[in-house]
Every structure is written in C-alpha cells, then in structure tokens.
C-alpha cells in the first residue's frame, strides 16, 4: 500500500469559525493504482489533495495520520514535509498553466528546481528528453518562456516537471478542467502512461468529472461535504453504486445519445450543507430521498463488498 490515510481531519481557520472541509477521511492507494477522487465543488477533494503535500497558513491539521510507503508523513510540519515534496509526493496543481514562472525560461527554472533537491540537470538530461518526447514536446521548449506555449503544452510540461524525480505519489488536481476535450484525453492518457512506465508509483486523480475519471482510474472515491461517501473499483462504482449520492450524481450526467425529449434527467435538489456548522449525522441527509431516523447518526464508512466501501445506513 503506497498511501494510507487514516481519519484525516483538516479544517480551515476563518474569521467566522473553522470550516470542517475535511472531516475524518480514511482510504488507501495501492502500489501502481490510479485512484480517482470525485466530488462537486466544496466537497473537500482539493483540500485532501493539498493536505498530502502542503498545508497553507489557514489550514489546520486537526486529527488523523497519513502514511506513505510505510513512513508517516509529517503533514503539519512544513519543514520536514519539504524533504518529501517533489521526491516522494508531487503535485500537478489545478492551474498548471500559471504554475510556471513567466519570467524564466522553462529549462532554467527546472534546473534550479532540481538543484534545490540535490539533483544536477546534466544527470537527467537524457531522461528529460525521453519524457518530453513521450508527451509530444520538443526538447527546444526548455529554451522558451511559458508564454510561448499553448495551454495544453504548458500542462504537459508541468506534468513532466512534477514527475521528474519519480515520486511515489502523484496528486493530479483537476489537471484537465481547463483543456479542450481532445487535449484532455491526451493529458489523461499520459497520466496512465506515466504510471505504466513507473515514473510515478501511484496517482490520486482529483476531478469533478465522473465520466473522465471513469476512463483512467482503477478505483474511484466519491466525496461529499468533507467526508467519503463511497469507494469502489471503477466499474463497480459506475455500474452498481450503493450510496444514494453517487447514484443521483451518475443519473444527472448527460451522455452523448441521451436527449432531453426522450429521457429527462434529474438534478439533485437542494445544496450541500455549510461546513462551518455542519449538521450532525449523515451530511447528505437533507437531500437524500432515502433518509430515515437513523441518518441522524453518522453512518460509518464500511466495506459492503470486497473493496467496496460505503457510508450509508441503507447500503448494507
């Protein structure tokens, strides 16, 4: 097991109190596995991704542990985490387009980055060239400024940079949201390729798009309001979801071939609860058609079938 997250709680400090953005999350990522983390805006999926690499000043590690390759990640200790970043855990940020320093040539920036981890540019040059070729970039992009690259090219460049030191865990946070469908497919497939070539051991692929994560992930985790709702192997989750939220979310997705006149899809009425003062019990309770008395108590995240975990009293 590459990654083991146990009861992780990370809250945000705000003037109006603490936002319980990540509230008791437990799951694992196996060696060589691509886990898709899906959910709607504000569900805590990006907070989870960021917690695994760097907590910013507003974030507070409240409880829980994270283990990477058997070692505990000191997520609350910024300085000690520094030894893990880039080498052991790496991230492709949400806006990779703006992750590159606009005033520096890409090659110079990369050399500096590698040097800060004690790696010389000369030693990796051949490997770098191979990887650039793999993502369809010419080695001469290293002499260019970020502004000279298109959005898709910058995205691929950042992917190569982030994985240069073969990290155990790669966090890909909404890496394709800003891209066109065809570029999106190329970028998503590159992530699979990186895994297959062992550039990264495991990947946590964060997205709001279930149909995209279905394409490349081995298993999918669905989050709702700071907690995990369901985790299952990809095909199981899409074909036989057990959590009412997962079911309703899947039913709300228009697909090519589904037409308004023929089949009217339904959204999920209501909106997620405020995480400043979250309700007790199941957080999906107010929007759930199956809710009953017992939902006032928080349902545990339990295994209902092999590798299939659900947090719902009705799913058992």
């Amino acid at each position: 097991m590459t990654l083991r997250v146990d009861n992780l709680k990370v809250w945000y400090r705000t003037p109006r109190g603490e936002v319980q953005a990540l509230d008791g999350v437990s799951f694992g990522v196996a060696d060589g596995e691509i886990v898709g983390l899906a959910g709607e805006s504000g569900c805590g999926k990006s907070t989870l991704g960021r917690s695994l690499i760097r907590l910013d000043a507003a974030m507070r590690h409240v409880d829980g542990t994270v283990e990477l390759d058997g070692k505990e990640l000191p997520i609350a200790d910024d300085e000690r985490m520094s030894g893990f970043r880039f080498k052991e855990v790496s991230i492709i940020p949400q806006y990779a387009m703006s992750a590159l320093n606009p005033t520096r040539r890409i090659g110079g920036m990369l050399a500096e980055l590698l040097e800060s981890r004690g790696v010389g540019m000369a030693g990796v040059r051949d490997e770098l060239r191979r990887r650039l070729e793999l993502v369809g970039l010419d080695a001469e992009v290293l002499d260019r400024y970020p502004i000279e690259l298109s959005g898709g090219m910058k995205q691929r460049m950042v992917m190569v940079i982030s994985t240069m030191l073969n990290p155990s865990l790669l966090i890909a946070d909404e890496v394709t949201s800003a891209l066109d469908v065809s570029t999106q497919k190329a970028v998503a497939e590159t992530l699979v390729e990186f895994r297959d070539r062992h550039y990264v051991k495991s990947t946590l692929f964060i997205t709001h798009d279930l149909s995209l994560v279905y394409q490349i992930a081995d298993s999918i985790v669905v989050m709702y309001a700071g907690r995990l709702a369901e985790k299952a192997p990809t095909d199981t989750l899409v074909a036989a979801p057990r959590h009412p939220y997962t079911r309703m979310l899947l039913a709300a997705l228009p697909e090519v071939g589904v037409r308004y006149g023929a089949r009217r899809l339904q959204g999920i009425p209501g909106s997620p609860p405020s995480l400043l003062t979250p309700p007790t019990g199941c957080r999906f309770r107010d929007r759930c058609p199956l809710a009953f008395d017992k939902c006032a108590t928080q349902p545990p995240f339990v295994e209902v079938a092999p590798d299939h975990l659900v947090a719902c009293w009705k799913a058992g």
């Binding site: 709607e40 805006s41 369809g136 970039l137 010419d138 298109s150 959005g151 898709g152 090219m153 066109d180 469908v181 065809s182 570029t183 999106q184 497919k185 190329a186 998503a188 497939e189 709001h208 798009d209 279930l210 149909s211 995209l212 279905y214 394409q215 899409v238 074909a239 309703m248 979310l249 899947l250 709300a252 997705l253 228009p254 697909e255 090519v256 071939g257 589904v258 037409r259 308004y260 006149g261 009217r264 899809l265 339904q266 959204g267 999920i268 909106s271």
Partner: protein
C-alpha cells in the same frame, strides 16, 4: 427568425494591425422559434465570437446577420433597443455578472426604469415573481440575498430570469453551465428545454458535446472559425461525416464506454501542434 448568412470576422493583429486573423469564416445557419441550435467547438473555434456578433457586442467583417429579415448591423437607437428586447445573452461566469456589494436582484431592478416605467410596485413584483417561477427559483430564497449567498446555479438562473423579463424570443447561451456542478447543471439544461417548449429560440454555445447533444435540434460543429459539419443533432452525433467530428466524439469521456486507447491520435486531429 435569426439568420446568419456567410458571416466572417477578421481581427487585425500584430504591430499596427499588419496581419489579419480570421476568427470566423463563412458561417451560415438559422434559428427558428422553439428551436435549440448547439454551436460546438474547442477553444479558438470562434463559437463565442459568433455569439458576440449576434448580440452586437462586436461587429461583423463580412456577411449579414438578420433578425426577422432585417440586417441587425443597421440597428441604432430605438431599433437597437427593440432588438435587445428580443435577443439577450447569458454568459459563462455568473459570479462576475453581479456586483458583490449590491443585492443579487439588482440585475432585475436595473431593467425596471428603462423598460417598465409604467408598472407600479405591485405589478413589478408580480412580473419578477413570474419570471423567477419560469426559471424555478423560489423568490423567498433569492430575493434580498447578496451574490455570495447564492449558488452558481441560482445566480445563473437569475440571469436567465432577467432575460425572460423582457419577453425575449432568442437567447444566446454562451457556456452557461460550464461552471456549474453536475448535480445542478442538469436543472439549468432542463430549464432551457422548458423555455424552448414555450417557443424561445436558443443558441446554445458549448465545448461539451454531451451537453449539446442533450438539448439541441440542430448542431453546428466549428473548428478554427469554420463549420466542419452541421445538421440535425441525431445525424451529426449518430453518423458524423467529418473526421474531426468523429475524433471529437471519440475523445469525449463517457460513462459505460471507455476510450479506445489504440485509436488514432486526437491531438493531431484536433489541430494542436506539439
């Protein structure tokens, strides 16, 4: 109702406008009452430019856009005002359409002075309530609230309600649901479907093929400013003729159908040079 006849748009770029960039070339289509036309394309395909030209936010370089047989380029003063009473647009980012220091319904109130000076308070309230009902918003939930207190879906529906206050006949919907969550996005789509049933013509501009497919009667696929394929939605999606349309369809992530990993490279087909 609306007819685009071989319209083009060229921009001057470079120092002193020394070069020309053709953003839209020879695009023709029509929108009839009660019809939804999807304008689908990737970034840089000119789809938003077409929407902006229809809304007169930018000029047309060649060709004509006519509404009920009259060229819209000639509209001035009263004529333009009448045109905007018939045609309105809603755009991608609902958050940036509101001034955060005013209550959200200000976008509705601003129409009252110029357009409905004759209505008394009661009539105005009824009118607002009717348009909110048409977009399935509960007045108690949205009126008196500030933009940050409302969800993206609510703000977007409020903007549609604003357009409906004017009894418009054509709505230009430019990526209006791209920023919304999956669970609320479908509600806005269904709303457009209901409005279409009431006779509203809709130009639905999107990059997302599955969203375009769900709603529209006619589909226009654009690539670098040119139409590559257009026709009834069933035909364009069911039996795409152009290789670009096929490549685009093959790269849409869909549930229950995984990408063909061995298929032809889309990167080349989509025209992005590496």
């Amino acid at each position: 109702m609306l007819r685009l006849d071989r319209i083009s748009k060229t921009y001057r770029i470079g120092t002193f406008g020394s070069r020309e960039l053709t953003a839209v070339r020879d695009v023709s289509f029509q929108v009839h009452p009660g019809e939804v036309i999807s304008l689908i394309g990737e970034s840089g395909s000119g789809k938003s430019t077409i929407g902006r030209m229809i809304l007169r936010l930018t000029g047309v370089s060649a060709g004509t856009i006519s509404f009920d047989g009259t060229d819209i380029a000639g509209f001035k003063g009263r004529g333009l005002r009448t045109y905007y009473g018939n045609v309105q647009g809603v755009f991608q980012d609902p958050f940036s359409c509101y001034n955060p220091i005013f209550r959200a319904e200000r976008v509705l109130e601003m129409l009252r002075g110029p357009w409905f000076p004759g209505l008394d308070d009661r009539q105005w309230r009824d009118k607002v309530a009717a348009s909110l009902e048409a977009v399935r918003l509960d007045p108690a939930q949205v009126l008196g609230k500030y933009p940050h207190q409302l969800s993206g879906g609510q703000l977007q529906r409020l903007l549609v309600a604003r357009a409906l206050l004017l009894d418009i006949r054509l709505l230009v919907a430019d990526e209006i649901i791209s920023m919304l969550d999956a669970s609320t996005r479908i509600d806005v789509l269904n709303l457009l479907g209901d409005l279409k049933a009431r006779g509203l013509g809709i130009l639905f501009i999107t990059h997302d093929l599955s969203l375009g497919n769900y709603l529209s009667d006619q589909t226009v696929i654009l690539r670098r400013g040119e139409v590559v394929e257009q026709g009834p939605t069933e035909r364009v999606f069911g039996r795409p003729e152009h290789p670009y349309t096929r490549a685009l369809l093959a790269s849409v992530p869909q549930l229950h159908r995984k990408w063909d990993r061995t298929g032809p490279g889309v990167r080349g087909a989509a025209g992005e040079s590496a």
